[in-house]
Symmetry: C2
Subunit: 341 residues, 2 copies
Amino acid sequence: MSKLGSAPTLDDVAKLAGVSTATVSRCLNNPDQVVKATRQRVQSAVDALGYMPNFAARVMAAKRSSTIGAIIPTMENAIFARGLQAFQEELHQHGYTLLVSSSAYKPEIEEEQIKTLVARGADGLLLIGHDRNPQIYENLERWNIPALVAWSYLPDGQLPCIGFDNRAAMAELANRVIGLGHRRIGVISGISAGNDRARLRIEGVQDAVRQNDLALSDLTIIETPYEIENGAAAFSGLMAQDMPPTAILCGNDVLAVGALHRAQEMGLNVPGDVSITGFDDIELARIVTPRLTTVHVPHREMGRRAASELIGMLENQAGGSGKRLDTRIVERQSLGPPADS
Amino acid sequence: MSKLGSAPTLDDVAKLAGVSTATVSRCLNNPDQVVKATRQRVQSAVDALGYMPNFAARVMAAKRSSTIGAIIPTMENAIFARGLQAFQEELHQHGYTLLVSSSAYKPEIEEEQIKTLVARGADGLLLIGHDRNPQIYENLERWNIPALVAWSYLPDGQLPCIGFDNRAAMAELANRVIGLGHRRIGVISGISAGNDRARLRIEGVQDAVRQNDLALSDLTIIETPYEIENGAAAFSGLMAQDMPPTAILCGNDVLAVGALHRAQEMGLNVPGDVSITGFDDIELARIVTPRLTTVHVPHREMGRRAASELIGMLENQAGGSGKRLDTRIVERQSLGPPADS
DNA sequence: ATGAAAAATGCAAGCGCTTACATAACGACT
DNA sequence: AGTCGTTATGTAAGCGCTTGCATTTTTCAT
């Protein structure tokens, strides 16, 4: 046994089992290359010592880590939770481990986290959305690290992507809202700078407004970080206007829940007095009262597909193809016709 | 520059800067040991190459990773989110990185995750709760890895801990409920096997029942995994009894929200027809209608203190002392007197 | 039995970094 | 100018593992 008070090494196991370190290594990684008797002897040595291979050493020697890194904008709410869960389940099935970190929606933190993850030996990366410093894409290429974008589908992105058409999805919802008779529309969006999902969702609303020949002046857009309180504050702002909107489209469910909450505090009936919609269809959307009408995103499928795509890129050295997934509107209780129609 | 399509190494930087690798290493880790002119030369080489130190190599050579591992029971809801956030902020301030993984409340997965984290070079570990295979404590000692328990304070735990008295906190709440006149009480608990927090909270209710001379037969306890749907199902079960409880104490806010939701689906008024309480005071508790009466846990303080305690254990090789934090009942809207009183 | 192919094992060279130790460079005093 | 104490830098030995290649053992057809 090696120095006391420190984990046993391959060498310790090899000595105990009376074989070379190479054999022990093979026992652990390619058991079928080792004859059964030896394998058992090694196994008992491993058990006896409570041996665990040192990951850093393994990564160095093998020059791969079987680890995938993911940088998501936030862990504070459940937006990415379900998709990431599916992503990780699929990875696990193929023998990969997931390392997650969050960027707090800040580009410079994302950049740092990417470097950290690469330095930690990530074999591949999952990124959310397309908007980022081009330098990052260059580095990824230079380091030869395969990466995949999720949560946003763009046919001509820098990287292969598995996602949905944020713009079209939001336009569809906005069309539905306008179709119900709403004319004055409010939008509570996330900060669009450096966030293509937020930006495209806004553009989707604008598309619908134009298509229906509404005045752009009837559209009020507020951008605010994705937090419940901010949704509430933005709602207050929107309703304080001379002619407040009759429908408010929120950039995601979190903002919508904030708006909903504030509406109730103000004694407003939803959707009687004002309609509110979300985006993402996270669990919360079904729990609040009234239940939120929102855009359903196939989180689990997206996560699963992203994983297999990325693994494909890793193992076949291939380019990766990308895939657009479909969203659909989930009609629940928070959207109705305007009061004065 | 090294082989194309692969990250640059210390050697590349050293050559470009015309110094030895040792000097480059010192520039990065102990800049004040290097004279300014050299330092600048090295810095430009680093910038020019986009160099990032290889973490695995660094860990191997330095025999420490400045990484702390945390294994939490779940990431699927926000129970641990706020505390962990504070934990990680504090770690970050001291130059440590946090690696998180989740055990899905399964002891065997937790055990595996601990090994994984240690194999990955974690210098220290944060664990949730005390109940686990004693073997784990032995291994931690054998490997010489400092570990700290949070979310549960036990004066005589195996490991130093930063947490609160789950039993007393729940007893206090139960006393309050009984004080309001409730006699038939339901408990929707998490699975208590291998989960001291769940177990102690149940015991807390039992303590209060005994103290107030209620019959133990008036207490119905259901154990179910911590998920919203399970809270709802358990609520149905409880209310289907001959003499349904007038107050239901839930093991945490997630279960309580599920119960609340089901109550509404059943057309029951909370707290008019039945009272429901939670535990933890996560964000959700303030968002649901009616707002949840629950036990407030000082998550952020717990996270922060856990971090500094653990860092202390790491850097002073000291034992770590532990600390009991206070909880308090947050009276909101979901608890009232029983209907028939 | 015998030899050649196949299977199992051992040997040893790194992987990219840190760090004790050795050496060189620099000043500040006689 | 010569000496010594500092300070800056270089040298090289690993850290624990994987893996190509060399070597030994087994297997099996003849």
